[in-house]
């Protein structure tokens, strides 16, 4: 199953709210790490939590998983206020993560699942299943220190899904993985996902976010910049960019009543239309001017572009 399939499948699912964050603020002394942040995450969707380093992502996630409490505002999970019993329904993979170096893989996984309240016999079955899936079965009785870094990361992932959580929160899950393993993990993540399960992951790899997420939230300097479904976000930023290839454009591209800016790239021209300009108008003008057109395409901005623009503008 590809990530695209997952997204389409989940798009069809109803919009029960798994997580509702209302006006949370967290301060550390003078420093405000998160300021008046609100958002919702719906069941069955992949939610991308984006932002530059130091934006407040990890602080927010720690509040969601109940490690710290917000100074103001409230967090509701599965319709209840955050509590320690709800922690059993969350799988959390922190950005900074580790394993007990001298412990056997099986013992660590047992311990982590016990801490999530899973009885030993059930845990063992799950462990076998996931180690098999991760192609790490023969490492079961090995010590962590014998494993490569990539293998350790897979084990860490297993430890977050063993108890079959309803909400999976992954903080920078792909950092440090080689491209093959990133693909592998995306595939595994897709399998894990079912209708009722929700995934939140934070990343600054915009390409990955674009592939996986239905919804995104961008925060910067402790505050929300924008949020919503990926399609909506892209549409609202993608109206006035045209990628153009051809010849004999004449002076049309200098017409500042339609165009705010035209940038020549290798063999294409990137045309920024003025707000409110219909691309059709430009196309008509170009044809009237006798231009020969090989390509005329309305370009969606990449999430990367939006991210950079927003973060540097704020």
């Amino acid at each position: 199953m590809t990530s695209e399939n997952v997204r389409t499948m989940a798009d069809a699912v109803g919009s029960d709210v798994t997580l509702r964050v209302s006006n949370i603020t967290k301060r550390f002394g003078e420093f405000t790490a998160v300021k008046d942040l609100s958002f919702e995450v719906c069941a069955g969707r992949v939610f991308g939590f984006l932002g530059p380093n130091g934006a407040g992502k990890t602080t927010t996630i720690r509040m969601i998983v109940g490690i710290t409490a917000p100074d103001e505002g409230s967090i509701e999970l599965f319709g209840e206020h955050m509590s320690h019993t709800l922690q059993n329904r969350i799988g959390y993979l922190p950005e900074e993560r580790g394993l007990y170096k001298k412990m056997k893989v099986i013992d660590q996984l047992r311990y982590f699942s016990e801490l999530k309240g899973v009885p030993r016999n059930q845990a063992d079955k799950k462990i076998d299943f996931w180690l098999e899936r991760m192609e790490l079965s023969e490492w079961k009785k090995k010590k962590t220190s014998d494993l490569s870094k990539g293998m350790q990361q897979k084990i860490q992932f297993v430890s977050t899904v063993l108890h079959d959580p309803d909400l999976l929160i992954l903080d920078e899950p792909f950092s440090g993985l080689d491209p093959v393993n990133v693909e592998f993990m995306i595939e595994v993540l897709s399998e894990f996902r079912t209708h009722e399960k929700t995934v939140i992951f934070s990343t600054h790899l915009m390409e990955t976010a674009e592939r996986l997420c239905h919804d995104i939230l961008l925060i910067n300097k402790a505050e929300k910049v924008f949020g919503g479904s990926l399609r909506h976000v892209k549409e609202s930023y993608g109206k006035n960019l045209i990628s153009l290839r051809g010849e004999n454009f004449g002076s049309v591209l200098e017409d500042r009543s339609l165009i705010s800016k035209a940038e020549s790239h290798a063999d294409e021209i990137e045309v920024h239309l003025k707000d409110g300009t219909d691309p059709q108008q430009l196309l008509v003008k170009l044809l009237e001017g006798g231009a020969r057109i090989d390509k005329f395409e309305r370009v969606e901005p990449s999430l990367n572009d939006i991210f950079i623009e927003k973060v540097t503008n704020v």
Partner: protein, 450 residues
């Protein structure tokens, strides 16, 4: 509760299944057994009897020497030596070995050299030849003027290095000469022992019931108990600190905190490692009991056992209780330090503080042993942090009234409650602080705010 038990089990297994634990646990009783039993076994290999030809021209000394070397006499001497070895702690290693060895008397076969052979070069050459031929092991030529001060007893042995035999034999000869001199002075053996008997200095401690008890050995046992608790606390305290720092360093703390309450995690850690320590102590106490039981079966060793203080179940019980109290007190401090620092090395710099307190408590043990009922002893066995080490020693030296023991337990339990509360607060914040060591003002803020 399920999670708490999971933490306890995890921490317990982590300590107990380590090689260092297994080795440490088995090694100590093994070493103790080696020190206690092996010399006895080795010295008890009785070789062939030492054959000594004695030329006694007057014929007066040989019977006395024979008598001094009789089994009864040697046993008596051995028992005296055994008692001395328990009491005299400052004895040199050589003395101790002699004393140990003296418990296992040597066999001697005395051969009388015919009277006719006078003391001459011929006699000496003859005896030397007999040694070289292997007929005898040694010879002693007693001078005729054995009573005078410049008399020379000539003893030659091909087992010159067997100092045990040599010493024993020398003592026997000495005693024989002395009693012969007395006899010559018309003082009978009975009269002598009557005249030279030591005063009967009946030095015995009395216990709380006013009954006699034996002081010998209490000093040693108290010292051993104090040292054992001190060492175990230091080792397990450091183990806790290591475990805390590991979870902080590897960032496992974040996963743990997203699964269980910090308090559960910390308390589970303390209980788990504490049980591991208790396991080790129980094994040690158990093997000590087995060792004593084994020794009790050896009839030869009765004199040693007579000096071992009476251990009551109350003593063992309070020993284990105070060990646990001490463990929780010191382990909380070590956990506190662990959650403040960023590495084990950094923690080591702070660990001197609890270790100093422990060491202080250990030194107070000497004051307690010397005078278990002084007011100093009272206060140091009630005071938090000191009591876990000093109280078991005091109980062994002279059991204080029950209310004092209970008071000590209550005071220290209150200290534990306060300390665990503080540690839990520092733990939950400190464990998520990476990269820099917490300062004291910061820690103080966490305690007040958290």
């Amino acid at each position: 509760m399920y999670k708490f038990l999971a933490v306890v089990r995890h921490e317990y297994k982590k300590v107990v299944l380590k090689w260092s634990f297994v080795i440490g646990t088995l090694l100590l009783p093994f070493l103790a057994a080696c020190f206690a039993i092996v010399p006895m076994i080795i010295f008890s290999f009785k070789g062939e009897p030492t054959r000594i030809a004695v030329a006694d021209p007057t014929g007066k000394l040989l019977p006395r020497i024979e008598q001094n070397l009789s089994a009864d006499r040697l046993t008596e001497k051995a028992q005296k030596a055994a008692r001395d070895s328990m009491v005299k702690l400052d004895a040199t290693q050589e003395e101790k070995m002699r004393n140990n060895a003296a418990m296992f008397m040597k066999d001697f076969a005395l051969l009388k050299v015919p009277q006719s052979e006078s003391v001459s070069a011929d006699l000496r050459a003859n005896l030397l030849n007999r040694i070289l031929a292997g007929e005898i092991d040694a010879f002693l030529i007693i001078p005729e003027n054995f009573g005078s001060a410049d008399a020379r007893f000539e003893y030659r042995s091909r087992k010159g290095a067997d100092f045990i035999s040599n010493d024993t034999f020398k003592d026997a000869v000495n005693d024989a000469v002395r009693s012969q001199r007395l006899a010559d002075a018309n003082i009978s053996e009975e009269k002598l022992s009557e005249l030279s008997s030591a005063v009967n200095f009946d030095a015995k401690g009395i216990d709380e019931a006013g009954e006699d008890r034996d002081n010998e050995g209490i000093w040693v046992a108290s010292f051993a108990i104090g040292l054992m608790i001190y060492l175990t606390l230091a080792i397990y305290g450091q183990a806790i600190m290591g475990a805390v720092v590991e979870e902080k360093e590897t960032r496992i703390a974040e996963i743990l905190f997203s699964s269980a309450r910090p308090f559960e995690l910390m308390l589970g850690k303390l209980v788990g490692v504490g049980l591991a320590g208790l396991t080790q102590l129980s094994i040690w106490v158990g093997s000590a009991a087995v060792l004593l039981g084994f020794l009790a079966l050896q009839a030869d060793l009765q004199p040693i056992l007579a000096s071992v203080p009476v251990i009551t179940p109350l003593m063992i019980g309070s020993f284990l209780i105070f060990f646990q109290i001490g463990f929780f007190l010191y382990a909380s401090i070590f956990a506190l330090i662990g959650s403040m620092v960023t590495s084990v090395q950094e923690g080591g710099q702070f660990a001197f503080l609890p270790v100093m307190i422990m060491l202080g408590a250990f030194y107070f043990c000497f004051a307690v042993i010397r005078d278990p009922n002084s007011s100093l002893s009272f206060w140091v066995t009630i005071a938090p942090f000191l009591a876990p080490i000093t109280m078991p020693v005091r109980i062994l030296a002279e059991t204080p009234p029950l209310w004092q023991i209970l008071l000590s337990i209550v005071v220290n339990a209150a200290a534990i409650a306060g300390l665990v509360w503080i540690t839990a607060r520092v733990y939950r914040v400190g464990m998520l602080m990476y990269g820099k060591r917490a300062t004291i003002p910061e820690v103080w803020k966490w305690i007040r705010q958290a």
